[in-house]
């Protein structure tokens, strides 16, 4: 009598014991590999590699934050920074005036700006990772798909009707941004889902069309505004990281961190979704619910980010792609690592934006687009080669 096959959740005896009917060389090697402590050494993501990569990136982030805090129109030395941070945190008073001016520059201008840059970059990269897995499209990105411009349109409409000038601005602008990005994502999803498989190029085409429509509407709104407001609008649209006051910044941080953590909870599901929709469902995933959750999270995060920093493009595409090349495709590492790298990238890009052309300041969106556009073209050409 042969051994009965096991319960699906327990290892089957028939599988763990080599059987005489199997071709011996083939199965023999398999049993030995399985018996080894780490059967897939180097072939899969392990907990230790996860911690190694994440700590290295966290350390690098810290170093870069310190670097970006030093640079600016006025150079602030590292020792000075530590001293000022110390006194700000533990309330030492009575510094000379020069120190106080430096303190204002560092604590009221540079620190929140560096922080906002890091946060916005992290969120855009994380949303990019999620959208790429969900749409099974390595070129997906909130900017390319028109999600960012949807959010921008929402904010522009709010500003046009004066919501932006009231006290409620804090809570209402991100809500309008969210509504805009959600509409954009729903249109993208409808267009993508009306095909059996999601063809890369038609989803991108949908994004191009949405971008065109939303940009036209934004320009219309900007042109009927009074000149000073429309100038501010243009500067915001091109992407700027002028930081809000600390209470607003902390609220935004808390909101986005919750979003990031909720996205992080989906990483295993994102792995499976990357296999394709039908295999994912056959593995027991409720794909419709997952899609709704991820679209909603993406829209919420993009809306908030855009309402504060305008349209900063391509981070959601370049960063996940580059990180994937180095750490592999497993979203358990790809998503948090992309968030850190995206944060570093935008923080450094913004430091360049405010230091390279002193005394004028370049919108940071210009720098990311100049870096990302050519990369996008390269990917498109490269993918075309690969798919042919």
């Amino acid at each position: 009598m042969m051994p009965s096959a096991g319960h699906p959740t327990s290892p089957s005896p028939a599988l763990t014991s080599p059987s005489p009917t199997l071709s011996p060389n083939l199965m023999g090697s398999g049993v030995q590999t399985a018996a080894a402590d780490r059967p897939f050494h180097g072939a899969i993501l392990t907990r230790s590699r996860w911690f190694a990569v994440m700590s290295a990136l966290a350390l690098l982030s810290l170093v870069l934050v310190m670097l970006c805090l030093q640079l600016g129109t006025q150079y602030i030395g590292l020792g000075n920074i530590f001293g000022l941070l110390w006194s700000a945190l533990f309330g030492t008073t009575g510094e000379p005036d020069t120190v106080r001016t430096t303190g204002v520059i560092l604590l009221q201008v540079r620190l929140p700006r560096v922080f906002l840059g890091f946060l916005v970059g992290s969120c855009l990269a994380a949303v990019g990772v999620a959208l790429q897995a969900l749409l099974r499209n390595p070129l997906a990105d909130p900017y390319v798909l028109g999600v960012s411009s949807g959010a921008a349109l929402g904010v522009a409409i709010a500003v046009l009707f004066g919501i932006g000038t009231t006290v409620l601005a804090l809570s209402l602008l991100p809500v309008c941004g969210f509504a805009g990005s959600l509409i954009a994502l729903m249109v993208i999803y409808r267009m993508a889902a009306s095909y059996d498989r999601l063809p890369i190029h038609s989803v991108l085409l949908a994004g191009v069309i949405l971008n065109a429509i939303f940009s036209a509407l934004i320009m219309f709104i900007t042109s009927i505004m009074e000149p000073n407001r429309s100038f501010g609008m243009m500067a915001w649209l091109m992407g700027s990281l002028t930081a809000p006051a600390y209470p607003v910044l902390s609220a935004l941080t808390a909101y986005l961190l919750v979003g990031l953590i909720l996205l992080l909870k989906q990483v295993r599901v994102l792995n499976i979704l990357a296999l394709g929709e039908e295999p994912a469902r056959s593995l027991g995933i409720n794909t419709e619910r997952t899609k709704r959750v991820i679209f909603l999270l993406s829209a919420l995060m993009t809306g908030a980010v855009v309402s504060f920093s305008g349209m900063i493009g391509f981070i959601g595409m370049i960063i996940p792609h580059a990180v994937r090349l180095v750490v592999g495709a497993d979203h358990r590492l790809l998503l948090p690592a992309s968030a850190l790298v995206g944060g570093m990238f935008l923080m450094v890009a913004d430091t360049m934006a405010r230091t390279l052309f002193v005394p004028s300041e370049v919108p940071v969106g210009v720098i990311t687009a100049l870096a990302g556009g050519p990369f996008f073209v390269y990917l498109l050409v490269w993918r075309k080669d690969r798919l042919a």
Binding site: M1, L15, S29, I44, L45
Partner: protein, 298 residues
């Protein structure tokens, strides 16, 4: 044909189904179409399909293009639901089972799977362990693979002869290697039922034979039930225990290969004349297309 189908069979239940049921699948009066059933011109993809799949058999589903083979397989995988009729999986209504429970019992390998993200082969195969992982509400749900998962994956990779590819990204594989990876992924799921859509389409002769041998071995050892959709009539004839022939969404014939693979049935279904003779080794029907001389004579 099926050896050792005795009393030892499966005293357990798994994934919410009773594995002692008489049939792995029991389909009664199944009608299916994509989209709405309202309106004057409903295109039924499957009409009144009644079919039983026995536990521990290899059932081949064959038929011309567009006869509904793949749709039938999707119904079995619970990827689509029939408009009328019912399907039971080991005695349980498939409609009443959750997707998670189904995934613990049934594994599905789709026809072709272009992969866009560079997961390694080992990572891809380990995804088959997903239905068996605990999902805690408070952890981030990373669900790191444990020893048991890795063993199951290593075993199924050895079975599919892809152990040496473990660290290769799936985007770099040949079609055949990718197909074997996907079958290994399904085997790592430790299913009781394996649903395969054209599993040999991208494979060379050696690997076609290997896969068929592996499926028969799993049938014998684990009493795995296998349903294969295939274009290859000879493969179905030689390696399936039973064959179901589909035409225009209806099952026109079902039975052992010797019963189904007849000149009359094939002419009726495919609309062309074929030659059938006993296979020199197995004695099972061997289907050959007529040569040019005979066709012009016809």
């Amino acid at each position: 044909m099926i050896s050792e189908r005795g009393e030892h069979a499966l005293a357990e239940t798994g994934g919410g189904v009773d594995l002692r049921a008489a049939y792995a699948y029991d389909l009664g009066g199944v009608h299916f179409c994509y989209g709405s059933t309202r309106g004057p011109d409903v295109r039924w993809v499957l009409r009144d399909v009644t079919l039983q799949v026995r536990p521990g058999e290899i059932l081949g589903i064959v038929g011309p293009n567009g006869s509904g083979k793949t749709s039938l397989l999707k119904l079995l995988a619970k990827l689509a639901a029939p408009q009328t009729g019912n399907i039971t999986l080991f005695g349980c209504s498939l409609a009443g089972l959750s997707q998670e429970d189904t995934a613990q019992t049934v594994a599905f390998v789709p026809q072709e799977s272009a992969q866009l993200f560079p997961f390694t082969v080992a990572e891809t195969v380990l995804m088959g362990r997903f239905p068996h992982r605990q999902r805690s509400r408070w952890s981030l749900g990373f669900g790191w693979e444990d020893q048991e998962d890795c063993q199951a994956a290593a075993q199924s990779m050895a079975t599919m002869d892809i152990a040496h590819l473990a660290a290769r990204p799936v985007t770099d594989l040949s079609g055949g290697e990718r197909q074997r990876t996907m079958i290994a992924r399904a085997l790592a799921q430790m299913p009781r039922v394996l649903l395969l859509d054209e599993p040999t389409a991208f494979l060379d002769l050696q690997h076609q034979l290997d896969i068929c041998a592996v499926l028969r071995r799993l049938r014998d050892e684990r009493r795995l039930t296998v349903v294969i959709v295939s274009h290859d009539l000879n493969l179905a004839s030689q390696y399936c225990d039973r064959v179901a022939m589909l035409k225009d969404g209806r099952v026109t014939a079902v039975g052992s290969p010797s019963e189904v693979m007849s000149v009359e049935i094939l002419r009726d279904v495919y609309g062309c004349h074929v030659l059938i003779d006993p296979h020199p080794e197995s004695g099972l029907p061997r289907i050959t297309l007529p040569g040019p001389a005979l066709r012009s004579h016809h």
